[in-house]
Structures are given as C-alpha cells and as structure tokens.
Symmetry: C2
Subunit: 196 residues, 2 copies
C-alpha cells in the first residue's frame, strides 16, 4: 500500500514528502507512517521528509518487486489487445510474455510483438518464462475454464476482467475488475457526498 501511495507521488513528479503530508493525502496517521518506514530502515530528515524515488526503490527491492514479472494474457480481443499493447507492460516490473486465444483466426497473428498462441501452449510458455501472473480477457462463459488453465499451469495470481464469478483455487489468487465499481467511486467523489 505504501508503494501504491509512493507510485502516485512519483507519477505526479513529487520528489520529497513529509510524513505529515503523506498522512494527509493517504488517510493514515503520520506517526504510523514514520514507524512503518523506520521498520524498513527508512528514516526521514526532520523538517524535510522522505525522498520519494529512493523510498519507492528501497521498498520495491525489499518486496522483491524490482524483478520483472512475466504476465500472460488469455483472450486477445479488444481488451486483451489493448492491454498487450500498453507501453507500461512491455518492460519494467510487469512484462507481457505470452498471448493466448482459441480463435484460429487470431492464433498465429502478431500483437504487440508477440505471436498469439493456442491455449494448449499456455502451460509450456508459463514453464519456460516463469510467468506467475495472468490476465483474463475472455468472454464470461470461458472465464472459469481459462482461470483453471492458468491455475494448472502454475500461475499464482490472476486479474479477471470477464463479468463472471470465478471459483478460486488454492495457490492461484484471483481478482475481478469491474469498471462499474471504479465509475461508482468516481461518481461519488464528484458528487462530493460525504457519505461512506
């Protein structure tokens, strides 16, 4: 969670921030922040605060997030294509390492520098690349089966976009994303209703 806050600050170009300012922005107590960061071996400079980039890098390193994590995408339709082509997923921490589809018209085509492969090859690609993250961008009826395929292949975390309830298996966490939930939060904030 600190990383998420720090990332936000980084995207905004903030270079330094005091624990008080962080406390205000992210709704935490500043003493808790200082305590947690000290536990990571990070001590701010009194009156100045913390250096955002250095802090973020240190936390990422501690959490093993400075390696590149392979991501496989199942379902190369509109959403899958958009995600595969996203510049942020071509290098850095998360990198798309395989694209899979069942449509023979798509298998063999090239998207974002990858050749789309049939789902039968998913387990091999996961084994070769050590990818541990999967994205489901298939239609709802195919969601559970595609999740199972990812779980069988050894993927440990799945981001699901299909509007379907996924029966989770031990060892492969899944999170479903629904843009309506995001729109709801956005709508609340802009109506500025201070109701929880």
């Amino acid at each position: 969670m600190y990383l998420r806050c720090l990332r936000k600050l980084q995207t905004e170009g903030v270079e330094r921030i005091s624990s008080n300012a962080m406390a205000q922005r992210f709704h935490l107590s500043s003493s808790q922040i200082r305590k947690d960061l000290a536990a990571f071996g990070e001590f701010g400079i009194r009156g100045v605060g913390y250096e955002v980039d250095a802090l973020a890098n240190h936390l990422r390193e501690l959490m093993g997030l400075d390696r590149t994590h392979g991501v496989v995408v199942v379902g190369v339709g509109n959403l899958g294509t958009a995600l595969s082509r996203f510049p942020g997923l071509q290098r850095d921490t998360f990198r798309v390492v395989g694209l899979f589809d069942t449509d023979p018209a798509k298998v063999g085509s090239e998207v974002a520098g990858h050749v789309v492969r049939p789902t039968e090859e998913l387990a091999d690609v996961v084994a070769e690349t050590g990818a541990r993250l999967g994205i489901l961008a298939v239609p709802a009826p195919a969601a559970q089966a595609s999740y199972d395929l990812l779980a069988d292949a050894g993927v440990t975390a799945v981001l699901n976009f299909a509007p379907a309830q996924i029966k989770e298996r031990a060892g492969t966490s899944v999170r479903s994303i629904d843009i309506r939930v995001v729109l709801e939060e956005l709508a609340h904030r802009s109506i500025a209703l201070d109701v929880p």
Copy 2:
C-alpha cells in the same frame, strides 16, 4: 465505500451478513458499521444481520445512485471498444450514451449500438443526454486535450486510461487508472508478504 463492500457481497451471491462478518471482511470495526448504518436508518436483526440487497438498494437510493448515469467514451480503439461493448455499461446505473473519435475511418461506424461521432459533437451530446461521466481511451498525447474537451462540455468526472498526467480543472475530477498498480497489488497479495 459501504456500497462497494455490499456490491462485492452481491456479486458473490451473499444474501445476509452480520456486522461482525462485514467488519472482518472489510477491516472496519463492527460497532462503527452498526453506527453508520443506523445513521442511514438501517438496523440489522440481532443474531441475523443485514439483508445485503435491501441494504444496497437503500444506500444507492439515498445517494442518488439509483438513477442512470450517462457515460461518454472518447477514443474508440481497442480499449474504448472493449469498454463500450461491456454488458455492464449498456443499462443499469452507468450507461454509455456516446462514442467519440477523431479518426475519419471510425467516425460513422457502429460500435455497441452507437454511431461513433466526431469529437466536435461531444458538447452537444453531453448537453442532450445530461451525461456527467467521461472515459478517456485515447493515446497519451491526446489525453489532456480530450480531458479539456470533456470539462468544457460539462462532464464532472473523468476516468483516464491514457498513460499521461492530466492537469485537473475545478469541477471535473479525474482519476487515472494504470493496470500496473492493480497488478502490483495482486502480486503482493499472492506473494503473501504482510508488508503494507
């Protein structure tokens, strides 16, 4: 926020939940939950709890969320198309009411039952439909200008997917979504590092 929790429960098909169970799941104190819900005129049944659907509907009604909110999408490429075709945005609380693009090849084509219009028509459509929410699915260099267009048209909240820093204007809140932040949280949870 309660609505978000309740929505999750609804998606999981949970019909009843006690304040203790809610407290556990959503990291709140159960007395705070009971107190807040009582302020909304909702009182659980001792030993039984709250009826999830009824509670969600009541809160939505209180917050004015039971109306349909119009959403306009700017940028009808892979991502814009996927979002426009999402079944969850065809009816219910949030409904796509207009699609806009600058590519003459796309303007005039039909996507998800809507004819893609040129961005010059955005202000009119927003005025006619009363849409207050916008989604930016344009390339990064076009993001600020597209946000400004939405703000000028009277949209009050924008969801931005372009990897670009948006200079926010008063009256039109903007939230940028980056799938990497979501992947990061997912990766943490599955590594099960209990570090914040």
